[in-house]
Amino acid sequence: MFLETEAGGGLFALAPWVIFLPVLGLLVNLAFGRRLGERFTGIVASSAIGLAFGVALTQFFALQGHPEGATVPLVDWITIGSLSVGWSLKVDTLSTTMMLMVSGVSTLIHIYAVGYMHEDVRHNDDPGRFTRFFVYFNLFVASMMVLVTGDSFLTLFVGWEGVGLCSYLLIGFWYEKGKDGIGNALAGKKAFITNRVGDFGFLIAMFLTFGAFGSLQFDEVFARAEEIGPAMGGVVTAITLFLLVGATGKSAQLPLYVWLPDAMAGPTPVSALIHAATMVTAGIYMIARTHVLFALAPASANLVAWVGGLTALFAATIAVGQYDIKKVLAYSTISQLGFMVAAVGLGAYVAGMFHLLTHAFFKALLFLSAGSVILGIEGGHHRQGHHAAHAAHGEPFDPQDMRNMGGLRERMPTTFLVYLVGALALAGIPPLAGFFSKDEILADASRVNPAIYALLTAAAFLTAFYMGRQLLMVFFGPARTEAAAKAPENPPIITFPLIALAVLAALGGLLNLPAGLPAAHGLTLWLEHTLGEVHPGEFVTLVALVSTGLALVGLAAAWLTYGRGSPALGQPDPLKRVLGPIFVALENKYWVDELYGILVVRPYTALSRFLAEVVEWRWWHDGFHDAVLARGFRGVTRWLAWGFDLPVIDGAANRLATWTQQAAGLLRRVQTGYVRNYALSVLIGLVLFLSYILFA
């Protein structure tokens, strides 16, 4: 099967292992994990991903010699009529970039998760659930690999759906916990359904693609699109618009972003891996993959850029007003994804992919560090004793609320350092990675679309502001609760991945340095093999200066507002005094969820209840089903049994018997018992026989 690849060195043939290794890992854990303990499970899961990273590296090396890539066929999947979709792996620079990023970051997060989940399952009183987590985690990586290596829309969609499923499973990992005992499950449901809306758009795009171009394979579709696309009127535009719908669902853009903040209900490694680094980038990857179609539909591309820009600013404003440490990061993710979406919408695919990579590093770092902080707060909370804690507050203690933190710089120094690196990278301070990637996007935007540039710049300013706010609230000032005062630092199994990610966040900019510096445009040249000729990002000095300056101004503003003291629980946020009602709106995330609830959820629930109770039960079941069908059927069977079977069929049988009896009775009369009669019959026979012989 997959030994038949083009001569690209046998290394390309190893590509399927990037999927099979995580699958193997999850199967082993599924079968033996619970019996063999946490250590075994952790090692198996992390090694599976680690080995997958190794395989991705081999692909990287294979591509050095054959930069145009290869297609590794696996199986023939569907062949119906003119639709022939096999499952093949497309190994080129774009997919390999994603493979490396996903497997590399996943390995580090897996290692982190071993330590994190060890604490978490004890905190939630269910140590047995440890194995299940890693089974889901490996399944997620396997699905993500299917997504990035797919060579057709259909294969990509399979991975798309797979990651959506794993997201649902992992958000609702503690399904019986959360608000009212059902909050986590509801968050999972919200994620799944919102993604479904996006998936619906993706499906329509697939149908249109197949209808217009007769194939679902990327290479064939792109070739045909370039030939006949412009002549087909708005078909390509329609396809790309529906692809955008899919991307807004998966990558949390306006208006389908609402699931991502709620998804923070899942354990922190989940938030780090799925909702920061990998799954949410699938939309951007998809747009980059189908760039040929977007190049043919400039109107859609423009819309993509606007959606990205508006989302970036919108989410950044909300992040300013959040108190939950993870919610801030969630909205920050949405905002940064907006940056990437805007980049690919403007045609700056390399810039978008570059930011995708660096964002994976520092956002994963930030989430994992936030997890470390939360673990520390929980530890401190346990240390002070439940008695005192519950006596102090009427409500349960929320270890994720930043108002319960403070002064952790001294208590958890390693965590503080890495968090600082991550925050500065996110804010775009040179020479950390975020500066280079974000700046490239800004530079390209300034060239192509000044309006978008304005939006993105404003978002960048707010990014620096809310990250500064977060740093100050969590790590500086006095500890505002006893839990914070007693928070311990975490063991190396937690801190080691953090340090690794911090290094990547610091040095990630080297991937695509701007012109003039040594090893410049590394990523550009690399991706050019797949994306076609790409205009290399220019280094616009003015833009760089403006963005850096704004970042510093943002940090300064945060210092001014929160430097003197962050609010504790129950105290008003200092920003509220300045912004007033605007801040209330920010706190409540513009009441978007409530709006959706009224506009969409409530009518839908009412409709489904109506359909279920009235239409289904009353009309269909009781009315038609019972009255018409059941009674009718019973009537028919009764008629068949009594009216037809009994008189006709039984009657026929009975009548047959009666006739036989009567015939027998008649025939019986021959047996008179009289000898003379018998003799007479002999004579009759004799006479007849003789007459036959003589006269016939």
């Binding site: 019986r668 021959v670 008179t672 018992g673 003379r676």
Partner: protein, 101 residues
């Protein structure tokens, strides 16, 4: 005698037919038996005439044997009738209708 064979055979046929009618018509078992003897007698007559015609004595030998057999048959048959009479106290053959179905 120069009587042609046909006349003899005709006589034989008549006697035979009379015998049959007797078997069928009479109710007295003994008379029925006698009718049977009449039939046998008619057959004997036919045989004798054929013997004369073909000048072969075998016909007469045959008749001899028929008479012997008829004698045996009468003995047994009358014994049967006597046995039946003991139970039925009647020789009406219409009484012996136990095989009536």
């Amino acid at each position: 005698m120069n009587v042609p064979n046909d006349y003899l055979l005709a006589l034989s046929a008549v006697l035979f037919a009379l015998g049959i009618v007797g078997v069928l018509v009479r109710r007295n078992a003994i008379v029925v038996f006698m009718s049977i003897e009449l039939m046998l007698n008619a057959a004997n007559l036919a045989l004798i005439s054929f013997a004369r015609e073909s000048q072969d004595l075998i016909g007469q030998v045959f008749v001899f044997f028929i008479i012997a057999v008829a004698a045996a048959e009468v003995a047994v048959g009358l014994a049967l009738i006597v046995a039946i009479f003991k139970t039925k106290h009647s020789i009406d053959i219409d009484q012996v209708s136990g095989l009536r179905g």
